[in-house]
């Protein structure tokens, strides 16, 4: 075994994956060749230095998401892809993190007296173990009366990141959800262990001017929240169902009903103007 050949086996020898015959031959050569021995020692030192690469801290630039969104928008504007009008899709995603980061969750108020909290729940509902939402201007109040040990989790359906978790043990949760960003933002609220989660679109501070568009039920809810400045709750199994909309109506409930007329969903308006989209 010459020096060059021996060097070819350095990695395998270091990882102890060299077959016994070759290992023996390499060890024999190393014992008799001081230069090769020094080479191997330097090689091992290099491998050890390479280990430090894993720990390098790399700062993620703040403009990364925006750059991705911009590049995707450019692709969208080329006719060859012929996809629906998703121009705002990527842009919204770029700012989703900001929207979520700026969300203010008031400290949850736990009503430890199980018998007194019902009247404060939306619509006077006496629902136990059910997520109840009530509009408060353009914000939403989340209410949940637990019958026992339950965990309510609020997260971003876009990133999957958990925003807040409430561990309850027979208590009632009442927490406002506010969005201080320009654009409407979407949140997922779920009780761990339940099959269906609620998606809520909370209006931002700006009004969405676009009246028409197409996309999923989630996109429709964001558009409704942005355009009419009303919170929208979706409680449907298939939130990816594709719909088109044109907000010709002066009110959100008519606009949503029109958009979903033939799609197996029902729309109703709850107290405070909250719009609810449900499976029919």
């Amino acid at each position: 075994m010459n020096q060059d050949k021996a060097r070819e086996f350095f990695s395998a020898y270091h990882e102890d994956s060299l077959e016994p015959g070759l290992k023996q031959a390499l060890e024999q050569r190393l014992r008799s060749d001081a230069t090769l021995q020094a080479d191997y020692a330097a090689f091992v030192e290099t491998i050890s230095q390479l280990e430090s690469l894993k720990h390098e801290e790399i700062e993620i630039p703040s403009y990364l998401s925006d750059r991705i969104a911009t590049r995707l928008e450019q692709v969208q504007s080329k006719p060859k892809f012929g996809l629906p009008v998703w121009a705002a899709w990527f842009r919204n995603a770029a700012f989703a993190g900001l929207a979520i980061a700026a969300l203010t969750f008031a400290l949850p108020m736990f009503h430890t007296d199980k018998s007194t909290s019902q009247s404060s729940i939306a619509g006077g509902s006496s629902s136990v173990d059910q997520l109840v939402f009530k509009a408060d201007g353009s914000n939403i109040i989340l209410n949940y009366q637990s019958s026992g040990t339950k965990t309510v989790v609020v997260s971003s359906p876009l990133s999957g990141k958990e925003i807040q978790r409430f561990n309850l043990d027979g208590q009632t949760l009442r927490s406002p959800i506010e969005n201080q960003q320009d654009n409407a933002a979407l949140f997922k609220v779920e009780v761990l262990g339940d099959k269906i989660a609620s998606l809520i679109a909370v209006p931002g501070t700006a009004t969405l001017k676009a009246k028409s568009g197409d996309g999923t039920i989630q996109d429709l809810s964001l558009a409704l929240a942005g355009h009419y400045h009303v919170p929208v709750v979706i409680e449907a199994a298939d939130v990816t169902h594709h719909v088109s909309w044109n907000f010709a109506s002066p009110d959100a409930v008519s606009a949503a009903t029109q958009a979903l007329a033939n799609d197996g969903f029902s729309v109703d308006q709850r107290s405070g103007g909250l719009i609810k989209i449900l499976d029919r």
Binding site: R7, E8, F9, F10, S11, A12, D39, A42, F43, E45, T46, I47, Q49, L50, E51, S52, L53, K54, E56, I58, I60, P61, Y63, L64, S65, R67, I68, T70, R71, L72, V75, F81, P84, W86, W89, F90, N92, A93, A96, G97, P157, L158, S159, G160, K161, L186, K188, E190, K195, I196, A197, L199, G215, T216, Q218, D219, V239, T240, H242
Partner: protein
């Protein structure tokens, strides 16, 4: 909806069916890792961000062809590596003027003086020496070797994952990685010699 909402395959299936929020979630989930990989290859934040953006455009354009035969991350690494190699190729092609070319001037023909704007190999080595870091030495490796070193030693990918990402046999990956490590060792030895001068 459940915790498996975050599963790559589910996000991809939904995105393939036209669900944009799932595609967005896929980007959100992988953009940090993609950037870290791109930065380790380029050592340049702007260039790395461009590579990641181009990479996700390619993902978007080819998503309908993704059959899930490999992990999404493996596919993403392949796309990012190709984006990086393409950028390097374009840079190399940019200076293509012949050294023999002549330039027409009012005073007649003069031989074109070519100035190479890139750092000389000596300057590169000196820069790495200044940085006194393994990262600097890795940056001096040829592109393909650099990608392999970063994948294995920074991204903790296995030989099999690298082979899948680069579409190479595992044996080839192992032998090329060995050569890359030896090249790196030689670069680092040169570093040490510089410090001794």
């Amino acid at each position: 909806m459940s915790e498996s909402y975050l599963d790559d395959q589910m996000l991809i299936s939904r995105a393939q069916a036209g669900d944009k929020s799932s595609f967005n979630a896929l980007i959100r989930k992988h953009e940090t890792r993609a950037y870290q990989y791109a930065f380790r290859l380029t050592r340049n934040p702007e260039e790395a961000a461009d590579i990641v953006a181009d990479g996700f455009v390619r993902v978007f354009n080819a998503l309908h062809n993704f059959k899930g035969q490999s992990a999404f991350t493996t596919w993403l690494y392949r796309i990012l590596t190709n984006c990086y190699l393409d950028v390097r190729k374009k840079e190399k092609n940019r200076v293509t003027t012949s050294l023999e070319a002549v330039l027409q001037t009012p005073d007649g023909e003069v031989e074109r003086q070519i100035e190479d704007p890139s750092a000389s190999p000596y300057e590169d080595v000196e820069k790495a020496a200044r940085e006194t870091s393994i990262e600097g030495a890795v940056a001096l490796l040829p592109e393909y070797q650099r990608a392999m070193i970063v994948m294995y030693h920074s991204e903790s990918m296995t030989y099999e994952e690298i082979a899948a990402a680069l579409d190479l046999p595992v044996g080839t990956v192992k032998s090329r990685l060995n050569r890359a490590r030896i090249s790196l060792r030689e670069l680092l030895v040169r570093d040490e010699e510089l410090f001794r001068i």
